[in-house]
Symmetry: C2
Subunit: 180 residues, 2 copies
């Protein structure tokens, strides 16, 4: 298994930003040749699949500058330095939606774009919600929505739900419903 490894020969910081850094790495390939790898460093993220007592999914509509459009996603946010993912998930859920969870269940973690970025996202589930308080960041503008699973599936088809973590979350609920 060792033979697939790419050893770092040199690493240059191209950009160090507010959310991401960009490194350019010179690597030695398994065949001894060298190549360059562009690597985006990201602090990691959390997302919460939250279901209300009325069996509706809590979503947020948000303008995403990289896409130059709004999409609808499960509540999510970046990890602060050293922050526990579960603490972050509880915080982001309340800040973005005004819901406080009294019981969060860890579902799964995955890298979002392993070809060029190290962003790892941790996905949680909750159906235990109580009223909290919306508190958005200064440069954050989101609208809360609550939809049924059937409506969420329609939002996938219309490409209003159009991101990996939310697509995963919808499938998770479909599997859960099938098996209940």
């Amino acid at each position: 298994m060792k033979k697939l490894e790419e050893k770092t020969i040199d690493s240059e910081v191209i950009y160090s930003g507010k959310i991401i850094d960009l490194h350019l790495e010179q690597v030695e390939l398994p065949n001894g040749k060298t190549s360059q790898r562009e690597v985006v460093k990201h602090p990691g993220a959390v997302a919460v699949l939250a279901v209300t007592p009325e069996n509706k999914i809590v979503l947020v509509r948000q303008y995403r500058k990289p896409l130059n459009r709004e999409i609808i996603e499960i509540p999510a946010g970046k990890l602060e330095k050293g922050e526990d993912p579960e603490v972050c998930a509880l915080r982001e859920l309340e800040e973005e939606t005004g819901y406080r969870s009294t019981k969060l269940t860890y579902l799964q973690s995955f890298y979002t774009s392993p070809g060029f970025a190290d962003e790892l996202i941790h996905i949680y589930y909750t159906d235990q919600l109580e009223q909290g308080k919306v508190q958005l960041d200064q440069d954050e503008f989101v609208e809360r929505m609550e939809v049924t699973l059937e409506e969420a599936i329609e939002l996938v088809k219309s490409q209003d739900i159009f991101d990996a973590k939310t697509a995963f979350a919808i499938q998770y609920l479909q599997l859960k419903e099938d098996r209940s």
Copy 2:
């Protein structure tokens, strides 16, 4: 719905690379204030969930420099400029696994990291495979694997399968099996 939009005031190219570009965008927020957005530009990607006549999933083990480790993924690759995603999917499947598909079904597309990147990935399914020819890029080293759905679920648990597109693909197969 217009009120969530972030208008670009200024855009600076920080880096223009082999696979990604990095832009720093000055935006006007919905409240009239300004902020900065770091945006990674990516050409987009495809991935193929391929199932053999023996009902095994075709996977590739690959070293991912951003993660500094190997992970196991469904075959995937970047779109060439102007390339049709289905053509790209057929090409990448054969190049990485040696399987040629005679019938590809489009499943879904999603953004992988809408907070900082515009990478859009298109996921295809096939269970119609014939023998083709492995032909890797000069700096690409992958190992083909074929596993049952049960084995794939174990690889998710052990975090050998550890990325968004492959997690989605495994769930897709679970749903398909549940409903058949």
